[in-house]
């Protein structure tokens, strides 16, 4: 009989709502209660250092090229020992969409995402982060990687002086 099905279908939701009324709400009361986001959550960007404590960023501009909203800008320069770094590095977090493409583009794993999502503020100019705001003194999520000790460039160690490298081939030793 359709009518009994209809009547029970009309009455059942009342029981469901009444039962749920006495359950604990699932809402997280945000300013008082915080929920720890997952470790790989994509929020505020940082510039990390390598295990030696030097800046990882080599100012290659790949992150700013990968950025879909063009919120990263920098000026490349070179130290006396040949090490490249950014003279200034700026991320405009009012534009940033937290897509993480910059971290995928970075060859030295310098730019990384953190799970610190509380960036809101009233002054947009305070959301333009300079290098001093971005630079941290730890390695972020990649504690072991050291670009200058992998890449075969004779800056941190002489050419071929790193553990994973063999010495450069002397192409002239086969000459008669």
């Amino acid at each position: 009989m359709h009518i009994w099905r209809d009547i029970s279908g009309t009455l059942q939701p009342f029981w469901v709502t009444l039962r749920n009324m006495f359950r604990k709400p699932v809402t997280v009361q945000y300013p008082e209660q915080h929920r720890e986001p997952p470790p790989r959550y994509r929020a505020r960007l940082i510039l990390t250092c390598d295990p030696d404590g030097e800046e990882r960023c080599v100012a290659c501009h790949l992150c700013s090229a990968a950025c879909p909203v063009d919120c990263i800008s920098m000026q490349a320069t070179e130290a006396a020992d040949g090490r490249r770094y950014a003279a200034w590095f700026r991320i405009n977090f009012t534009r940033c969409i937290f897509c993480g493409l910059c971290t995928e583009a970075c060859p030295t794993l310098a730019i990384q995402v953190t799970n610190d999502y509380e960036l809101a503020g009233r002054d947009p100019l305070k959301l333009v982060y300079e290098k001093k705001d971005l630079l941290v003194d730890h390695c972020g999520q990649e504690p072991d990687y050291n670009f200058y000790r992998q890449a075969g460039i004779g800056v941190a160690a002489p050419r071929g002086g790193n553990q994973t490298e063999s010495a450069p081939v002397d192409v002239k030793d086969l000459l008669p």
Partner: protein, 330 residues
């Protein structure tokens, strides 16, 4: 002269009290509805303004008062301005005929706890409830917007589908009480409320007043996912607030009517009459909110179908059966 002055003063005090209580109740019903709905959906509801969000109605009022009172360019100006008032005033006026307590002895005189004990109180209620839809229809028409117009038309055709059944559900009550006066109807329920004597009439009236209140599952005039906001799409600020408050005053009044006609009004053991009346009305208001949390919106043709093909024949049959039973008992 002082006798008449005291009478006049008592009436004015009574009016002022009713006015204040109704408006405050309407404002806090909004909060209660948001809270209860939220708990049914495992949320907290408004809890930021004041302790437990108790000042939320106040901040809502300030917000509505300070918003721009917008008049659409091609609207019918006077009707547009009058319609929200019509909706709120008819809702307020209806309460005049509703007895909310047993007569009170004060200053050596009996003070009936009703603004005006009309001998045709039932008809007065039915008449004003039909008038209330003018606010919706005129507001929808005057806005000169297709959504508002559709909402207004829906309001009208909803009215003709449920109102006949609502009127016919009251007829057995009038037959049993042998009076149109709401006070007499309450007096007649001193022993057994009419919900026990005539449950079908109660059910039909309950369903009809849910439709009358224009709430889920019969909120077709303002079906927000079809018509933006229905008849009050173009309204802003306090004019929207008047529609909104009118809706909730209407809720209280429909609850009071249900209490008076079927639940025995102020009758009840131990507690004073006014308290019993308030408990019953608030319980019905909770039921309305509960319905809103539980049921989906009916389709337009389903309401018409239900009103004309189910409720109306049932109500007519109920009138005949009640009449026959009354004749048989004598």
């Amino acid at each position: 002269m002082p006798e008449q002055l005291i009478t006049l003063g008592l009436i004015v005090i009574k009016l002022g009290l009713i006015f204040m209580v109704l408006l405050t109740l309407a404002a806090y019903l909004v909060l209660a509805e948001r809270k209860i709905l939220a708990r049914m959906q495992l949320r907290y509801g408004p809890n930021r303004v004041g302790p437990f969000g108790l000042l939320q109605p106040l901040s809502d009022l300030i917000k509505l008062l300070t918003k721009e009172d917008f008049l659409p360019a091609s609207a019918d100006k006077w009707l547009f301005l009058v319609a929200p008032g019509l909706s709120a005033v008819t809702a307020l006026l209806t309460f005049a005929a509703i007895p909310f307590g047993p007569p009170l002895k004060i200053f050596g005189r009996t003070l009936p706890l009703v603004v005006c004990d009309l001998n045709i109180g039932v008809l007065y209620f039915l008449g004003l409830s039909s008038l209330a839809v003018y606010g919706i229809a005129l507001g929808g028409w005057a806005s000169n917007s297709k959504y508002a117009l559709l909402g207004g038309i829906r309001g009208l055709s909803q009215l003709i589908s449920y109102e006949l059944a609502m009127g016919l559900a009251v007829v057995p009550v009038v037959m049993m009480a042998r009076s149109f006066s709401l006070t007499d109807i309450v007096m007649a329920q001193a022993d057994i409320p009419y919900i026990l004597k005539n449950p079908p009439a109660f059910l039909i009236f309950l369903i009809s007043i849910v439709a009358e209140s224009k709430r889920i599952p019969f909120d077709l005039p303002e079906a927000e996912n079809e018509l933006v906001a229905g008849f009050h799409t173009e309204y802003s600020g306090m004019r929207f607030g008047l529609f909104f408050v009118g809706e909730y005053i209407n809720l209280v009044i429909l609850g009071s009517m249900l209490t008076v006609l079927f639940l025995g009004g102020w009758h009840g053991p131990w507690l004073p009459g006014v308290v019993w009346f308030s408990i019953k009305v608030l319980a019905i208001c909770f039921f309305f909110i509960w319905v809103r949390g539980s049921l989906p919106r009916l389709r337009y043709d389903q309401l018409m179908h239900f009103g004309w093909k189910v409720l109306l024949p049932l109500a007519l049959l109920n009138v005949i059966v009640t009449g026959a039973a009354l004749l048989w008992i004598g």
